[in-house]
Symmetry: C2
Subunit: 472 residues, 2 copies
């Protein structure tokens, strides 16, 4: 990639106009420091185009001059995919000014938006139109839909609604050379050649810049039933998941599991939390049903179901949310698990997925191997059981210092990821690769896969200007 | 493409072994005549590999010698995508011997199959394992899953379960040069680079040959409620669809609309059919709810819903299926609409999709234009309202001969497809392009789209051996 000459900087500033850029000495930290703060970068220019044409013009200019562009949404990703590198020669292209909701088609259950619209604003606009946009995740107050699509974001609604990929009907994309591809269709069925939008979804901004999207909306949720139950362990969780799926079909919206070690620190560090069962249990599940009509039938059905499961021995104790407050309290514990884990002081995290039915065996096997290597390691495995997506994290043993523990982290990661690979799993179920996981992924990718991926990259971005250093 | 020399033919026969090929003077009609019989072809060799390695070896040999290969499943497609051309230099690669169900993972709700397994066999195997594979279409007794995936098949379950693309978790693909890409994952979440399987799904065999797939299974259906109702027209159908979606969420599994002109000939030509309402109505809808638990609650809810809609004026009459026989009778009418249409003697068919909310305006506008061109044209517009997928067909006026009518067909098609394009629609919602629709599609494709598609084709199949003459 080339140096950013003053001529190039001026030309880029001209494209986006006076209010469309920032540069030093302005504080650019929020554009250059990744959310976890582990791969902070540097830039001489942040451009903030106001529309698709400006995005395209920026790309055309950068492509012609060999300037690297880092597309950026809310900058909340976990793997540094939207952060410039430390060299200072990459410009940041922020979509934050493109935050128009272009159309809500309630009768057709679609919404057309610019890439920079914040996820929470989309959820709210859908609700105001009597519809649901079901993508839901921790960063929803600041992440942007363009980033959600570029990383194929997951979150807590995947079991029922699928990830961001499933929620997208059409895209408009500015290509590396400045052309604009208009695939902004509102169609639920279209079989006319290769489905190009699928390439840009999950590509982390390396094949083009998503500028607009058509999203799928759903009927609103008017009833929910939520339970917190004690279970014997992951195998019981799997059996319970299957029983719940057969009993409730897609009314089953969430099925999260947590071990005691994950929730004890939450109860200690998060004010106002209390154990839903009143006492420690080795493993627990948080289960939620939702439906489109008001009423109590889901709560009644869920209560009856757990009555049966208590008798069958799959569940040993449980609490049903009796109020919206109860429900919020249950979810607050789940949502603070990551924060709670921090209070242990040092851990290494793995965003794994394996085939759903292999979760119990995977947790067993990985834990056996980690403990063989580090007998005092504390292991927490929690998350989206229904998606096969377990956050498998290893916490620093109390008798090791941070520094001692971090010396062992690469080996622990290797042990866990080897085990994931043996189970045919993924070492990045929902967080993507970005800068942080690309090397580790390259080790496990199937034969020819990286070759095909690199060939696609070269095809769509022959000069390599789009988010270089990410994915590969 | 090169000639098929005797050396090449011998080498290909050796790869698949004695029982793995057929050639003239055998009758090869079922491999060379497309289902509709409008683009019959010729071949000197049908190879039927027994496994992925043989598929790959056939491709490697053909790639090295510039021989065109036409991958073929059940050969039930509507657009000639699996039919060799008339020159006789293309070999057919039938997947029919690869019909093993490799694994059913009921607890993980996945099934792993070879590409040649017949769809109905997959449905049955899922049912025997206490699960549902929801892809369902007319040809299910003979179409194969590899073809279903290669054409992203639709059918009657799309409203709830999505098309074939939504039902696939992983693929194994033999590439043009004989390499094998193993993307046969059983994962519900995996964000590690570009989602390559999406490229092969819907590619009609032009980028690689799908050899195995991992499919998603669902909880079984244990209750259904089906209604046949009279409605004022497409706008009332749209309002009713929206009301049903809000009331029932994804319990709403089918929402099909039909005008009187579509069902009258069915009642005349299909033995045993009778009008569910006892008398002609201008427009009707067939609506079905399904759920995972046994009981009558869906029928009760549907009856109550239609009571409200009668009062609100969206529905003017209706019949609820009171038995499995009623339900079968209702569906038999819908399923014979295409056959009924044939009895009019001559029509031109359009597999359109438009944004769901635009269906009423699209039907109005297209019909106005068709009638301006041919005042006596008889128009039928029926199908998957919930998917925005209307089969918009124009039937020969009684006062024109076949020949006279067919002279006008290209102009009628142009009128309809221009109108589809103005509504941002697709001229092939579920049938694909194959040979038959490629030219028409090229006329409407967005800027740069064909260029990107052709570049992808050149990347994955540089020698152009995979299904040449299809898509482009």
């Amino acid at each position: 990639m080339n140096e950013l000459s003053n001529d190039i900087l001026s030309a880029l500033k001209d494209i986006v106009g006076e209010t469309g850029w920032q540069a030093p000495p302005d504080d650019l930290t929020r554009y250059t420091k990744d959310w976890r703060g582990i791969v902070p970068g540097v830039t001489s220019l942040v451009v903030k185009p106001a529309n698709t044409d400006e995005v395209a013009a920026v790309l055309a200019h950068c492509n012609a001059h060999g300037i690297a562009v880092v597309p950026q949404g809310g900058h909340t990703g976990m793997c540094g995919a939207a952060t410039p590198d430390a060299e200072g020669r990459q410009i940041v292209l922020s979509l934050e000014r493109m935050r128009k909701i272009i159309e809500i088609d309630a009768a057709g259950s679609t919404m057309t938006v610019e890439a920079g619209v914040v996820l929470a604003d989309i959820q709210q606009a859908a609700a105001e139109a009597g519809r649901l946009f079901p993508l839901s995740l921790g960063a929803q107050g600041s992440c942007q839909i363009g980033g959600n699509l570029s990383t194929n974001a997951g979150g807590v609604g995947v079991l029922r609604y699928g990830p961001a990929r499933s929620l997208c009907l059409g895209l408009e994309v500015a290509l590396a050379d400045g052309r604009i591809w208009n695939g902004l269709k509102k169609l639920r069925k279209d079989n006319t050649g290769y489905d190009l939008k699928q390439l840009f979804i999950g590509a982390e901004g390396t094949l083009g810049v998503i500028t607009r999207a058509v999203l799928k909306l759903f009927p609103p949720v008017r009833q929910s039933a939520t339970a917190w139950v004690a279970i014997a362990g992951p195998q019981a969780a799997l059996d319970l998941l299957n029983a719940a799926q057969v009993a409730f079909g897609e009314r089953l919206t969430a099925f999260e599991i947590m071990p005691d070690i994950a929730i004890q620190p939450v109860l200690q560090v998060v004010p106002g939390t209390r154990h839903p069962l009143g006492r420690a249990e080795p493993w627990m599940a948080l289960i939620e049903l939702t439906g489109p009509t008001p009423g109590d039938d889901l709560a009644e059905a869920l209560e009856a179901f757990f009555g049966e499961q208590l008798e069958a021995g799959l569940v040993s104790d449980g609490a049903l949310a009796r109020s919206e407050q109860d429900r919020a309290d249950f979810w607050a514990i789940r949502e603070h698990v990551a924060e709670g884990e921090q209070s242990y002081g040092g851990s290494t995290k793995h965003d794994t997925s394996v085939p759903v039915a292999d979760i119990p065996a995977f947790i067993d096997e990985a834990s056996k191997r980690v403990r063989a290597y580090m007998p005092e390691a504390r292991i927490t495995a929690f998350g989206h059981m229904g998606d096969g997506n377990i956050h498998y994290n290893v916490i620093r043993p109390e008798d090791l210092s941070f520094e001692e523990f971090y010396e062992h982290v690469p080996e622990i990661n290797r042990i866990v990821h080897d085990c994931v690979a043996e189970f045919g799993g993924s070492m990045s179920a929902e967080h993507g690769l970005g800068q942080i996981k690309k090397a580790e992924h390259a080790r496990y990718a199937p034969a020819h896969e990286l070759e095909m991926q690199k060939a696609l990259k070269a095809l769509f971005d022959p000069n390599g200007i789009l988010n270089p250093g990410k994915l590969f």
